[in-house]
């Protein structure tokens, strides 16, 4: 089975939500839509307080190259444009919309016909207008990624979902198989590549089977590769290594080795943008955790507060200790549940007070040089050495250990028997020496 060097099998806890079909979350009465939900320039609002908006109306845009448009996710009135809690940035300017309860669609949202006749440029324009970003994590604007500066020969589709707990991509693959394949077809057309490969971990056999059957049935020329279930298999560079045996050097991007990587969720939203003219105003979010009464996969409007999702999952069985946007390995812990779902919110994970205590117990013991972090590091670093540089306050020594190679997957910190906060240290080094 294909894989990369290093990494670690991590108990996935995916059983909590993997059998839960995607449910449509009821409309929220208010949404908070941050004007920065992507990699790149912050959008300027194009609506003002008191404006009426419809579902799918553009409310923010930027004339910068790397940016992505923002749309209203419900119909109603713009209550205000203020600084509000943001799951990644802490605080950011956001448009607050009060719902009128009608969910009236914007007039631009009408099913498209004659998709085949659309040119590459027209497709890119549609994607740009729809505010599509990569839904795998970095939320990179899709119209930029799909128009690479260098020639590429392969499109890789990431269906790995190696983050523990998360199952939204898995559910999408099961429930929207054909739409995803159509979305991939569009990407293929835009980039103009022959070869398309979907990578999926071995623990998602049903998805692999479904996609394979669909490909045969609809005569799609797409390879589906079964990958070893190992974290961080879904990291871009590791995926390319596993499937194509090409290595993207530090500081380079996939197109430098002739590859574009996109997520299955992105393919799905691209399908919706092109076929249904639907901007990216909702997404599937896995809401999970052992202390949650009913872990679920929910289709949620962007801007819905975490609290409402948690309430929809019937709240907590025991006291929550941590609310994380994303998975447990790379997710971001939140200081409040009054924070909106954004385009990059793949999951909301709740750890109980007890779990948090368990995981923080005995932190920062002396490094015993056991070498676990070295063996698992997917980019061939010496994490323990960087951690020691921080401990000894010798950041001047850190540069020789290539701290900027780090993809921040967190595996070193996960495996450390001395419970050292290795990744925090590497982040510190990066921040100080940048």
């Amino acid at each position: 089975m294909e894989t990369f060097k290093g990494g670690q099998h991590i108990d996935g806890f995916k059983y909590l939500s993997r059998e839960m079909a995607i449910k449509i979350m009821p409309l929220p009465s208010q949404v908070i839509i941050p004007l920065s939900q992507h990699t790149g320039a912050v959008c300027e609002p194009v609506v003002k307080k008191g404006d009426m908006v419809k579902t799918g109306t553009m409310i923010g845009t930027s004339d910068k190259l790397i940016s992505s448009r923002i749309h209203a996710s419900i119909s109603g009135v713009v209550k205000d444009i203020v600084e509000y809690n943001h799951p990644v940035l802490g605080q950011s300017k956001a448009v607050i919309i009060d719902s009128d309860g009608k969910d009236t669609l914007d007039s631009s949202i009408v099913k498209r016909t004659k998709i085949e006749e659309l040119s590459k440029e027209q497709l890119l324009e549609i994607i740009k207008n729809a505010g599509i970003v990569g839904l795998g994590g970095a939320a990179f604007p899709a119209q930029v990624k799909l128009n690479p500066l260098k020639p590429v020969d392969t499109l890789l589709i990431n269906g790995v979902e190696c983050e523990p707990y998360l199952t939204c991509d898995y559910r999408l693959m099961l429930e929207h198989t054909h739409s995803i394949l159509k979305g991939i077809g569009l990407m293929q057309k835009i980039i103009g590549v022959e070869r398309v490969v979907i990578g999926i971990e071995e623990d998602k056999q049903e998805a692999i089977k479904l996609l394979r059957n669909k490909c045969v049935e609809k005569k799609y020329d797409i390879e589906i590769v079964c990958l070893k279930a190992k974290y961080p298999q879904g990291a871009e560079k590791q995926l390319i290594k596993a499937i194509l045996d090409r290595e993207v050097p530090s500081g380079k991007l996939p197109f430098d080795v002739g590859v574009i990587v996109s997520n299955v969720g992105t393919a799905f939203s691209l399908f919706e943008a092109v076929y249904n003219a639907k901007p990216l105003y909702e997404r599937v979010v896995t809401v999970t955790g052992k202390c949650l009464k009913q872990p679920s996969n929910l289709k949620v409007r962007i801007g819905t507060r975490f609290k409402e999702l948690i309430d929809f999952c019937q709240g907590f069985k025991e006291a929550p200790g941590k609310i994380i946007m994303g998975g447990p390995m790379m997710g971001i812990s939140q200081y409040t549940d009054d924070v909106p779902v954004i385009k990059g919110t793949s999951g909301i994970l709740i750890l109980s007070q007890k779990e948090v205590d368990e995981y923080t117990q005995g932190a920062d013991q002396p490094c015993i040089r056991c070498g676990r972090c070295v063996n698992i590091c997917p980019v061939g670093m010496l994490p323990y050495a960087l951690s020691l540089c921080v401990e000894m306050d010798r950041l001047d020594k850190a540069a020789q250990y290539n701290p900027f190679d780090c993809i921040e997957c967190g595996t070193c910190t996960y495996v450390c028997p001395a419970k050292r906060q290795i990744l925090s240290g590497i982040r510190l080094i990066k921040a100080v020496t940048r």
Binding site: P328, P366, C370
Partner: protein
Amino acid sequence: MSEKNTSVDLAITSSPHIRAKETTAKIMWSVTLCLIPSGLVSIYAFGLSVLWIILTSIVCAMASEWLFNCYLQKKPNSLMDGSAVLTGLLLAYNLPAGAPLWMAGLGSFVAILFGKVVFGGLGFNIFNPALIGRVFLMASFPVLMTRWPAPFKVDAITAPTPLAVFKDGFSGSPILNPSEIIHYSYSDLFLGLRGGCIGEASVLALLLGASYLMFKKYISWKLPLSFVATVGIFTWIFGGSSFFSGDYILHILSGGLILGAFYMATDYVTGPVTIQGQIIFGIGCGIITSIIRLWGGYPEGVSYSILLMNMGTPLIDRFVKPKRFGDK
């Protein structure tokens, strides 16, 4: 507008938010546990006095750890991480079965103080602490350290170790009366019916424990194998009266080779971090051990080989690094 939710008290940390269950203490206690079968064989073969040596050594190691770390340096209590217990146990395993108790205690004290504390405690020591204790005792009390009781002899007749027999031949060693020389078969050596240090007695028991450590991936089989194989090959080539006629099985099964290769050369702190580095370390240990055994002044070379290679660890780590992702 935005308010902090006060109904819940949320922890904020950077990722990752989960940890594997492995801990330093768990590893140390597992190694300790895996050494127990060998100790039991020794108690069975040499009598209860062995138990008292082991206990004295462990207690003194823990007391020294507490004194220097917790009491004098006011560091957090490190006794439960199991490293002091392991050092005490390993030191005891490096003593002859007839060693006096004060020697075990003194050795432990030196092991902890000069093997570990002076370097900054666990993780910062250059040399294997137990071996520091052992070579200190070897240098200070050479006679006591080489008086080996024969197994199953209550009156503790001094019997030579197989390696001493091999080395000194039948011409008589300075310490031993030739008439008392006992010959051991390979199966005696394997099962543990021979003179020697406490922990060296039974190869079978040592391998039993080591197989668990390898199963749990606490140690890699590559380092011990490269160590043992190097000794085997080296002594086979140079150990006999002509080339390629050495008794390599005797060399592999006797002395502290198995104990050293599986339990002391594999010490995380004092060995290289990369697998490739560990193999170099093992080969180096094997060569030094063989040279000392065949041509050196001591019958046994495992301790010195490991200590010498410990010194080479930083150098190995400097030159043997994992391949940087993206490099050709």
